[in-house]
Symmetry: C2
Subunit: 202 residues, 2 copies
């Protein structure tokens, strides 16, 4: 049995990557990686599902032990991808999805270059503005700042393997699922065992 | 609108590549390339569907004009892939499937390196022997010769991009269709226009 595949999914806030990933893990046999953070849980968040909530001391100890595939500090809080949990699943032959911003994705690319990098895009900036405004949780200034941040994020796209435009959710899920299925058929992921088996049989 | 994609499908006789390609063209918006040959039509074969049946003189004239993506002589007959028909469709933005043996596929790789190369494998040599024997059209000697030829063909597999094992027809069709869908999402096929559009919109 081969090692599972690590799919790294990024995209601007409002592009719908969270919804797509949730749909994918329901439809394909694949696990979603859970991040670790030092921030406090919000209402409705569950330890081990939303995040692994740990103390700053625990987080820093794990950093020292090289226990993260990547981590970052955002204002006062740390966020990271626990290495062991991802690697255990991959070694067991299971695929893993990692939802992460481009900066984090680029760190993963260094620590795990075999990952498959997928960028989810909104259909247009106009539609993204509509989606962000529709949430009513952000001021006009905040929305404009997010749109500028989005352009910066999009500039990373050429470092990714695939790009999926989320103009229609069903189609975007199907395209993302197709990418994940197709990657298992790549010859570059190893066919030597297969060829050896055919030769033995003749 | 971008150019369509050329999918080159190979695999040993009995692996089921013909059945898979027929299913794909029914399910996806994709054309099957029709080969040109100098051999006579057999019962049930239609000009323009099974093959384009032409005279040897017409075929040789087309060779001189550089009118083939690849061609080969098998015993007394010529077989080739007419360049113009494939290119017209690709330029019009349509995907094209080309079903061809590995020698032909390698020539296509030289003349059209942007093609996507897919190899269809039988589940095992034992199963392939069963399928070939089941056809009852070939002697035991012929079956053995085919199995040896198959091993030679399989040695080309590492020159291909993808490999699909046809153990279950439905799954093999779905895997092949996923490859074809996924290739449209590859960043390497060009995202500059897309990025420019997002930038203009802000």
């Amino acid at each position: 049995m081969g090692r599972g595949l690590l799919f790294v999914v990024s995209g601007p806030s409002g592009a719908g990557k969270g919804t797509i990933c949730q749909r994918i893990i329901r439809e394909l046999d694949i696990d979603l990686s859970v991040s670790m953070t030092t921030r406090s849980p919000r209402t409705g968040e569950t330890h081990g599902v939303s995040y692994y909530f740990v103390t700053r001391q625990e987080f820093e100890q794990r950093i020292e032990q090289g226990g993260f595939l990547e981590y970052a500090q955002v204002y006062d809080n740390f966020y990271g991808t626990p290495k062991e949990m991802v690697m255990e699943r991959l070694v067991a032959g299971r695929d893993v999805i990692l939802e992460i911003d481009p900066q984090g994705a680029m760190k993963i690319k260094e620590s795990y270059p075999d990952g498959i990098f997928i960028f989810i895009l909104p259909p247009s900036m106009k539609e993204l503005r509509r989606r962000l405004t529709g949430r009513r949780t952000e001021s006009a200034d905040a929305v404009n700042r997010r749109l500028r941040e989005t352009l910066t994020e999009i500039s990373y796209i050429e470092k990714y393997d695939y790009c999926v435009v989320n103009d229609d959710l069903e189609e975007a899920v199907e395209r993302t699922a197709s990418i994940m299925r197709a990657e298992h058929s790549r010859v570059s992921r190893g066919v030597q065992d297969l060829i050896a088996r055919y030769k033995e049989e003749v």
